[in-house]
């Protein structure tokens, strides 16, 4: 695993929008003064007339996107997760979710890997917020390959979609010839029999690293990668839980309302199974480098390994 290619999923978002711009003449991109950071700048350069900078006004931006979708556009609304899902929550709910409009929200800088900006900008609540809106698809890709596939799937899906991207560069793990992406379908990225680790976003890589370490201790961990948190791939999770009997969830998000909660909702309904939820334990983040933060909050491979080992 020496020279692993690393790309931030926000880069994948911008690059894919640029590609899709050629295929979908009605695709438009909106930003709130953060095009340089959300990486939609590459789309803006190619299609300046189809890029709309709304200024620092996220609530209005969501409404404008709603209006654009009602006159035939496919708007991709971009901002940091904190502002897209947090600040503009009610606009997303009432102006986009309730009328079930064809608006795609590309939220970058999610979770603690925002890093140095600190807790005010580290959104660990967006999955919980967006998941609670009826009809909203929520996706959190693990790497460049999955992020590109998710953006493509979003444009083909008719209805509102929330996509969560990260700021920090992450290893590419899905560059397999047989990799397939479908909204609502997870992937088993490593098979095992003793414990299931369900992970999303950048934590899939940590889960794989942890599984490797567990294997050295004679523990066989199955790693399930979940990009679509809603609708959740219940079948895949139940099937894996049935095999291992124990489930650990890992996410760069609060353990309240996110992937861990979604998995618990699924298992408590279909197959009650003990679940250990790793993530932000009802606390705010803080300033620091992305790697230091991931380590401090136990979301790197070592941290996940220790937590799983201790729990088993």
């Amino acid at each position: 695993m020496a020279d692993v290619k690393k790309i931030a999923t926000r880069e994948s978002y911008g690059a894919t929008l640029k590609e899709l711009g050629a295929e979908y003449p009605n695709l438009v991109v909106l930003d709130a003064d953060l095009a340089a950071s959300t990486k939609t700048g590459v789309f803006m350069k190619e299609y300046p007339d189809r890029h709309i900078d709304c200024g620092i006004a996220e609530a209005n931006m969501m409404g404008i996107a709603a209006g654009l979708s009602l006159v035939g556009k496919i708007p991709f609304v971009s901002s940091f997760a904190m502002f897209a899902a947090g600040r503009a929550f009610e606009q997303v709910r009432n102006s986009i979710g309730y009328p079930h409009l064809n608006v795609k929200i590309g939220a970058t800088h999610a979770g603690i890997t925002v890093g140095e900006d600190g807790a005010s900008h580290q959104c660990n609540e967006d999955i919980a917020l967006m998941r609670s809106i009826p009809g909203m698809v929520v996706m959190c890709p693990a790497d460049d390959v999955e992020a590109r596939a998710a953006v493509r799937a979003a444009v083909e899906h008719n209805g509102p979609v929330y996509m969560r991207f990260g700021r920090a560069a992450v290893p590419v793990i899905n560059d397999k010839p047989d990799y397939k992406f479908e909204i609502g379908k997870g992937n088993i990225v490593r098979e095992g029999t003793d414990v299931t680790i369900v992970a999303t976003g950048i934590c899939v890589d940590s889960a794989l690293g942890a599984a490797e370490k567990l294997a050295a201790d004679g523990i066989s961990a199955e790693v399930v990668s979940i990009c679509t948190i809603k609708p959740l791939d219940d079948d895949l999770i139940v099937q894996s839980a049935k095999k291992t009997g124990k489930v650990v969830t890992v996410e760069e998000h609060s353990v309240i309302g996110g992937l861990g909660a979604a998995v618990c909702e699924c298992l408590s309904t279909y197959l009650p199974t003990p679940v250990k939820r790793l993530g932000m334990q009802d606390v705010f983040g803080e300033s620091g480098s992305a790697s230091d933060l991931v380590k401090k909050y136990g979301l790197d491979a070592e941290g996940v390994y220790k937590s799983v080992k201790e729990w088993l």
Binding site: M61, G63, L68, V71, Q91, S95, Y98, H100
Partner: protein
């Protein structure tokens, strides 16, 4: 349509509002009645719409940003032929498509609304989309004077002014009252016209209950190029129903049976006078 015809339609709309809200035992009559003439003017005179084809691609759009006055919009759409007038009394009842606030599934409704401050942004998006595609349909949105206390209204106004959306017409129903009292006392939005002017709008002040004035204002808005227009419409809350006129308390409650009888008598008297004026 001449003024007398418009007045008759507006009175029918008012009757529809009162019947719907009475039947629902809830709803917002005050701001529906203050905007009844405006609703009537837009749907019977101003807008390019087709009740037989509510989703006509290049129709003019209307967003009721002050969504709580849905009874006014519904009564107008019903009388314009988008759905049966009889359905108005199903308002707010379980199973009815006439929800308490506008939903996108209702024939003729262009955008869901009800959470104040949001409709104007959707209208701005529609106007922007029309400009991007070189289409010449127009977009109208109605806001309450209390609603403009919401910050999002000014985000939307700044954007519309910046983008010179001259296909957008914002109307503020300045009836002067909100739930907690006079807008001037609660948190004054005045001067409304000057505020929109500062956001690069062309502004027009108009008497909300004078069809000649409305006609002139909308013609002026249509002829204004290079900037959006804001029509500040000076209205009487509860207009047409004697005991509701100018009373904040009638913002969001339904008349009881006795009050309903008085309200209907008021409106039927107005209707009879209009009929007589037509025969004269």
């Amino acid at each position: 349509m001449n003024n007398l015809e418009l007045q008759k339609r507006a009175n029918d709309v008012r009757i529809g509002i009162v019947k719907a809200v009475h039947s629902a035992k809830a709803g917002h009559p005050g701001g529906s009645l203050s905007a009844a003439d405006l609703f009537t003017y837009l749907y019977f005179e101003e807008m390019n719409i087709d009740p037989q084809n509510p989703d006509m691609e290049d129709r003019d759009r209307f967003v009721l940003s002050k969504g709580h006055t849905a009874p006014g919009l519904y009564a107008t759409l019903a009388h314009r032929g988008f759905f049966p007038v009889e359905d108005l009394t199903t308002l707010r009842k379980l199973g009815s498509y006439l929800q308490g606030h506008p939903t996108i599934q209702i024939p003729g409704v262009d955008m869901a609304s009800g959470s104040l401050g949001q409709g104007i942004s959707a209208a701005v998006g529609m106007a922007l989309g029309a400009k991007m595609d070189g289409k010449d349909f127009r977009v109208y949105t109605l806001l309450g004077d209390g609603e403009i206390q919401e910050g999002q209204v000014w985000e939307a106004a700044m954007f519309a002014g910046h983008r010179k959306l001259d296909n957008l017409c914002v109307i503020v129903d300045n009836n002067g009252l909100q739930i907690d009292g006079a807008v001037a006392d609660v948190c004054s939005p005045y001067p409304i016209d000057e505020k929109f002017k500062a956001f690069n709008f062309h502004t027009i002040n108009v008497d909300a209950h004078d069809f000649d004035a409305l006609r002139a204002a909308f013609a002026e808005a249509k002829n204004t190029k290079g900037m959006p227009t804001c029509i500040v419409m000076h209205s009487v809350k509860g207009k047409g129903v004697s005991f509701m006129e100018g009373v904040a308390d009638w913002h969001g409650k339904a008349p009881n049976d006795d009050e309903f009888a008085v309200a209907m008598a008021d409106l039927e008297r107005i209707g009879a006078e209009l009929e007589k004026a037509g025969e004269a």
